[in-house]
Amino acid sequence: MEGITEKEVFFLIGVGIFIMSVMAMAFVAFHSRSQQKLLSQKLEAQEQLLHQTILAQEEERSRIAKDLHDDIGSKLNVIFLYVQRLKKIATSADDPGTAINELTQIINTTIGSTRRISHELLPPTLEEFGLAEALKELCEGFSGTGYLNIDLNIPDKALCIQDKMTALNIFRILQELINNAIRHGKARNIAIFFSDTSDEICIRYEDDGKGFDSNMVMKNKGLGMNNVESRLKMIGGNWTYESSPGNGMKAKIVLHKF
């Protein structure tokens, strides 16, 4: 250290100590601030998710209430009127045959409606025969309308989803995607491919609907997208999707087995 006095060395080391201390303190302060920011962002996202979940629940409840009121309720009212009519017939000499036939028909349609509502709430095929059969039934139901063509491809290996909650959530996610494609995208063709490796199950979804600006949707997700995300979170899966106006939608859902 020739040319530098001891005083200067002393000063330089002092400055070095000061700079190192200040830098360490600044780093700690910066890190602590960014952690707090991250935490508040996470809390905000959780709050939003909770809000959307409650909204989705309420929407589902109002749909069930509407179905019960408009469908089952009105049919029970008609049944009640027929019973009143039968009472009157019983005290008179009129033939009850026509009234009984009409009553039987209404009771049958009420049973049908009850079955439809309960099937929508929890598909029995899913419970009894598993995800693959339930999805086939769902797709056949949509394809049967003649409006939509769904190409469902499930290899035998991918049928090994044993957990009922996982199977139900996958079913609901695909149901949501198909409903969105019909309602918002006006899609005519949908393709769903399952693939199964030792580590993960991958589901690829494609439709030829109107598409949307995925960047916009990413910032401001609707109820359906939030529903898909919260269901995926519940079963430990993740997804990526891409879409642009006029080009339909492509999504990839990955479920890790371990």
Partner: protein, 217 residues
């Protein structure tokens, strides 16, 4: 005057260290398991501090203690950071090889390179840089994966601030002793002051940790 400030800070360090050990001992069941290694480190620190004071009172060179202290300091902090999964990508064998290499260097440095009656500046600098690396690694890990580690963040902040600030003090310790002994006092005071910050942050960490666990229990 300067010496009095230094002695006051040193006494405060001693009080904080003692308080931390007591607080940790009485809250040992409520604190996370990671704090066990912090407890061992604080006990090691206290034992060295007491011995250094006794030797200092008898006007005996207490620098050999620094050589000894460096070994425990590195080993216990390495175990602490291992406990917070800093080395999760390293298999056990790799971790222990790394620890053994560093400890071997510290020991060989004290035996063959730097006299035990001088600062072990080479070994101490290497250990301090490694501990700073651990602290940065821990902060980086927090960004990657969120954890509930408020109390450990205080420990990490203490490690980063103390070891960054005192890096040059130990690096040039022998230079101060040989060339400019009169400046040694000033740097000793700066080190004691940084050590006081370190101990206050550690005490805060233990206090925060024990309070949080009470809330959940």
């Amino acid at each position: 005057m300067l010496q009095e400030i230094g002695l006051l800070c040193r006494n405060l360090v001693f009080i904080c260290l003692f308080a931390s050990i007591l607080l940790l001992f009485f809250n040992r069941k409520r604190l996370p398991d990671t704090f066990r290694y912090l407890g061992y480190y604080l006990c090691w620190n206290l034992a060295i501090e007491i011995t250094a004071r006794i030797l200092s009172d008898y006007e005996t060179n207490n620098l050999p203690l620094l050589h000894l202290y460096t070994i425990g300091e590195f080993l216990l902090f390495a175990l602490l950071y291992r406990k917070v999964h800093l080395f999760k990508k390293w298999p056990d064998k790799k971790f222990w090889i790394f620890v053994c290499i560093v400890l071997l260097f510290v020991i060989l440095n004290s035996i063959f390179i730097q006299n035990i009656y001088t600062f072990n500046s080479y070994a101490k600098t290497v250990v301090q840089l490694i501990l700073m690396g651990f602290a940065f690694g821990y902060f980086y890990q927090l960004h990657e994966k969120e954890q509930d580690t408020e109390a450990l963040n205080w420990v990490n902040a203490a490690v980063l601030i103390y070891y960054s600030g005192s890096l040059f003090i130990f690096m040039f310790g022998n230079y101060f002793l040989d060339k400019v002994p009169e400046t040694h006092l000033i740097f000793w005071i700066i080190n004691v002051f940084l050590n006081l910050i370190f101990q206050v942050l550690i005490l805060t960490a233990i206090w925060k940790g024990s309070r949080k666990r009470k809330f959940f229990s």
